[in-house]
Symmetry: C2
C-alpha cells in the first residue's frame, strides 16, 4: 500500500518499525505535515517513538531523495512524499495547509536570458497563496 516504503527499500535502507510508521504517516497524507505533526501522528500509533527519531528519519528520507522538504512560513518545515519534479504548491494563508498543484507551463521557460544575471538556472518552483474553503467562511486559527 505504501509506495514510499517500497521506494525506500530500494535504497537498501534498513526498515525499522519506527521508520515504517513515519513513512506511512507521510505517505498516507493528502496534505504536507510539519515534523511535529508527523511526530504527533506517529505517537498515536507508537507512543514510545522519540522526537529525535522522527527528525533524523525525515532528514534521511530527504537525503535519499525520496521526500521533499518544503518551507513556506519560515517557521517549520513540511515534508512532501511526492518527488515528481514538475509540481508546485498551494498554501492557505489562514491555516497553513499545503497542497500539491500542477501548472499548464514550466516556469523555467518564462525567465528571459537578460533576467538571469549570469546564473545557471536549474529549477523554478511556484508558490500559490490564498484561502482554503474552510478559512474562507468563518475565521480559523493558524495551528
Amino acid at each position: 500500500m505504501s509506495d514510499l516504503v517500497e521506494r525506500l527499500r530500494k535504497h537498501r535502507w534498513r526498515m525499522t518499525p519506527q521508520r515504517r510508521v513515519i513513512a506511512e504517516t507521510l505517505d498516507g497524507a493528502h496534505v504536507h505535515y510539519t515534523a511535529d505533526e508527523i511526530l504527533d501522528r506517529a505517537c498515536a500509533r507508537m507512543p514510545e517513538i522519540s522526537r529525535a527519531t522522527v527528525y533524523n528519519t525525515l532528514n534521511e528520507m530527504v537525503a535519499l531523495g525520496e521526500v521533499l522538504e518544503l518551507n513556506f512560513d519560515g517557521r517549520s518545515k513540511r515534508y512532501d512524499p511526492n518527488v515528481e519534479h514538475d509540481h508546485h504548491h498551494l498554501i492557505c494563508e489562514g491555516c497553513g495547509i499545503t497542497k500539491d498543484v500542477h501548472t499548464v507551463a514550466d516556469p523555467l521557460d518564462w525567465l528571459p536570458g537578460d533576467e538571469r544575471h549570469g546564473f545557471a538556472v536549474t529549477e523554478a518552483s511556484i508558490t500559490f497563496r490564498g484561502l482554503c474553503p474552510e478559512c474562507r467562511r468563518g475565521e480559523h486559527r493558524r495551528s
Copy 2:
C-alpha cells in the same frame, strides 16, 4: 535619497532615529539581508540599537506593506524593500545570494481552476534556483 523612508512617512508612521537607520540599511542594499544582518549593519551606525527594535520595526514595515518578507532556506527570513508586485526571486544554491527578477507572464494565470481545490488564490511567486557566476567557477562557501 531613501525612497523607503519616503514611503513609510506617507503612512504617518513616526520616523525615529532607530527606524530611519533600519530603513536606510534595508533600502541601500542590493541584496536581501536577514534580520540579524540588518541588526549588525544598524549597530555599526547606532551601537545602542536593540535586537527587539530591529525585529519590531521590520515586522511593522511588512505590516504596512512597504517591505516583503522572504523565506527561502527555512532558517532566517530576509527582507526586500521592493514591494512592486510582479517580481520573483533568483537564489544561488551555492552562496545563498538573492536577486529580484521579472518574468514574461503572471504565474497566477497558469493554475487551472480544477487545480485550485476551492481556494481563493490571490498570489503566486516563483523561486528560481541555480548557481551565480562566482559559484559556477570555483567553489564558494555558503555564508
